[in-house]
Symmetry: C2
Subunit: 505 residues, 2 copies
């Protein structure tokens, strides 16, 4: 059927065509059905949306994506007819019924995901089926390979390419800013692509962005890595494993991260950048993604097995994730603390220990040394890591004269103090993140939290527990209010509980 | 934060606010997160959408629903802040993990569904969880009760209220147009609410609409039922069990109908109209919803048990669903055939037999007679059912002088003939429906199919197998093309197969 087009100022991932109920019935389609729009020699598939009383008969609203793609103008005539669902919807149905998918079926689903050919309901059904049934090792391997092959890839002519990844869940984990320069200064190549915060207070890309540009293309990542040895870029600016972003978008509203997807997501990114040796950090503890060491080991085994299938050498480190790494949370505060570590300027021990552990593992895996931590420590303490980090910052368009004393942080601050004498009984990761986000992180780079006390330490009444940093007064108030309502740090007297409890009257 | 509003000409079930990526970050929200818009004393919850390059900083696009609700104009300032998800999302997560929900949790989910407080991904997750795990009898009962209580309800001061329902899946099932007048003429009350076609060629509401108005309010349904004894209205024009429509909308793209939802959907509608005795027709056979008699019995048991819990007396009839009921498919053709039955004007036997069986069951359940089929047959053959049907049509604003000879059907027709001598080996319900829809049904009331032969009958080469009716030439061509590519009726010679097969050379 022919329709006059009316451009509508919205833009969505999946193209939409908006029509009246009557015209949809005439065409025999329902909300969410797919139609093909043909204009001249170009055509595009779009979802049907129904608008009541806004679109005339013989008229369709089309979004900006279609306007631009078809090069069509208001009043032009477009031919529209129904088309069937892509075959991948049938494969998703198969998975919904608990059946194992074939390689071709998984490739079809991943390709259609990248092409935006699946709508949100269909993609959620796929992710939920994986949540309910899991995937077997073959399916996980095929998913990972399909994710790699449907995106851009890196390859290096020379050198040993390594990488590190943390599965996340623990705040303040700025170790990549220390590990990458140690590794690069040790002669290995480490083209680290990092993510931005989704629900956290700062992703490694957000932290690095306070010092340098992280929006690098795949070609820039390759060039800088080959020249300087390392890079810390935002993966989202590239087209590496693009299926992953789209899958994450439907996982987010449901707050799920099914294990097959987690494994494929991490390993696809590592595979695509051409890494041969990878350390995967699995923080374990209450409030992180993995609650127990047993679960951590199970996940580690899955990573190692998937690595074997893909030809990647994987070592997993199970690390303590029960409280933040180091003492800072939020982009600029985290960058500041990482610089302190690189400058050997009294950094928190937990931060240095974790960074050296991960870097050391990579150095041992690649045969650079048999005592990785010792080697990494020397590179750090000699100042070579700091020097390398400045090279990396400069290569990414940042100021190489950066130091921990000149990173700008939020100038609106508030100190939360202990109401009693006692000890830190509990540090709640999730609440800390909420407060840091309320203060403006990750958008306001200078916003965040500095911890003055960590788990187990003794405090006196009036001691500072933590300090909130913000760039805007109203966000500071919001964060204070939240920290008061849901205290992220609990101080208890030494007697936590009395049992049985009785009193003399 | 304050924003200037910019109305956007779309309208969705769930309100949307469209902002730039930068402003979303400033506000700390992601696509799909919920925000509250406050304007004067009014406020509304909306979903965040991101538009690139279309919305200025300090500006938000808002859809027509919000414009009208807040009574806001272009350029007005609105205050926007993030709000958390409703608690029902947590309950959906609980069900996703296979846990049984409490009554309060189920009520919260159903209430939020009705309020459009759940987005498509969340609602799909609920439906899919029920598909994967099922629901236990308590959960099904609570879902049904919640669906009844969140919508309009009917109650009658006098009389015995009965109803019938077919779970669908078999084309040509126009028996309600015969059962309702037989029952009403027998002194019972039958306020039948019916559905329109979603994927079929004609729903009972579409069929009835060729003769009378079916867009009746709950008050009109009550008034007509009390006055005339029966009504055939479109349920979608009322606010009876409104959660159901919204659930169906997410089931449709996945082509699923989880049993708990099917049970709750049917029984909520029957409970809400105050029926005490209900016959549920379960068509069984290849190509209908229930493939085997065993599965049919299992479903029947579930209906009876749910009825017991709700205080409804249920009888299920398992009927033959392997081929269409009667000989016509499509709104006007089905109405015409139902009239033939009421007029005793040589109607197809299968249609009359099924209608009398269902009507008879209701008459026996309510104690009107001990031989229901005989009683129903008398009412039909005496002309009382036809008379009653005309009263109903007139009460619903239709012409009471209607007859099977003056129902207008499509004037563009095409006869499909047998290519060989043989017998009808296969009638494919789904293909028949596809052809009828391609011909214009249910939108074009006169479009559809008339069957000249049914399963098992002998045919000679050139005999008419079926005739396609359409209102528009291009739709007729489309239907012919489809019927040629995917023949809905297969004629075989008497020897279906030779085994073992060999030839002399």
């Amino acid at each position: 059927m022919k329709f006059k087009v009316k451009p509508v100022p919205i833009r969505t991932d999946r193209s939409s065509v908006i029509m009246s109920q009557e015209e949809a019935q005439e065409l025999g389609v329902l909300v969410g059905d797919r139609v093909k729009l043909v204009f001249g020699k170009k055509s595009v598939i779009a979802d049907v949306q129904i608008a009541t009383g806004l679109i005339e008969r013989n008229e369709v609203g089309i979004d900006r994506t279609i306007v631009e793609y078809l090069e069509i103008e208001e009043g032009n005539e477009v031919d529209i007819y129904p088309v069937s669902k892509p075959a991948s919807v049938e494969f998703i149905r198969k998975k919904m019924d608990g059946q194992k998918l074939t390689k071709d079926e998984i490739y079809a689903i991943v390709k259609d995901t990248v092409k935006n050919a699946l709508n949100e309901i269909e993609l959620s059904a796929f992710v939920l089926s994986n949540y309910f049934y899991g995937m077997d090792p073959d399916e996980i391997e095929w998913t990972t390979r399909a994710m790699i092959e449907t995106g851009e890839r890196l390859s290096f002519e020379r050198g040993i390419v390594v990488d590190k990844h943390s599965i996340g869940g623990v705040p303040g984990n700025k170790i990549s800013l220390i590990v990458v320069p140690i590794i690069a200064a040790s002669g290995l190549l480490i083209p680290k692509t990092a993510s931005r915060a989704i629900t956290s207070a700062s992703g490694t890309a957000d932290t690095m962005e306070t010092l340098a540009d992280v929006n690098l293309s795949v070609d820039e990542i390759k060039e800088i890595t080959e020249r300087v040895g390392g890079v810390i870029a935002w993966g989202g600016a590239t087209n590496i494993a693009p299926a992953d972003d789209k899958i994450i978008r439907v996982e987010y509203p449901l707050a799920i991260d099914p294990k097959p997807q987690l494994l494929a997501s991490v390993m696809a990114k590592k595979g695509a950048i051409g890494a041969k040796y990878v350390v995967i950090d699995i923080p374990v503890g209450a409030g992180s993604k993995v609650a127990t060491v047993e679960k951590g080991r199970e996940l580690a085994n899955d990573f190692v097995e998937l690595g074997r299938r893909l030809g990647l050498n994987i070592t997993c480190t199970l690390t303590y994730g029960g409280q933040p790494v180091g003492r800072t949370i939020g982009p600029a505060l985290e960058a500041q603390e990482a610089l302190k570590a690189l400058e050997n300027a009294k950094p928190p021990k937990s931060l240095v220990e974790k960074a050296l552990g991960v870097a050391g593992t990579l150095l041992e895996m690649t045969g650079v040394t048999t005592n990785g931590v010792e080697h990494a420590k020397k590179v750090l303490e000699s100042g070579k890591a700091l020097e390398k980090f400045k090279e990396i910052v400069e290569a990414q368009g940042g100021n190489p004269d950066i130091s921990s004393t000149n990173v700008p942080v939020g100038d609106k601050t508030y100190q939360v103090k202990s109401p009693i004498d006692g000890a830190i009984a509990q540090i709640n990761n999730k609440r800390l993140v909420k407060v840091a986000r309320a203060a403006g992180a990750p958008k306001d780079k200078g916003a965040g939290i500095m911890l003055y006390k960590k788990g187990g330490q003794h405090v006196k009444v009036g001691d500072i527990l933590f300090e909130i940093y913000a760039e805007k007064e109203w966000k500071l108030s919001q964060a204070i209010e939240l920290a008061t309502r849901e205290p992220p740090i609990v101080v208890s007297g030494m007697i936590l509980e009395r049992y049985p409890s009785y009193r003399f009257i």
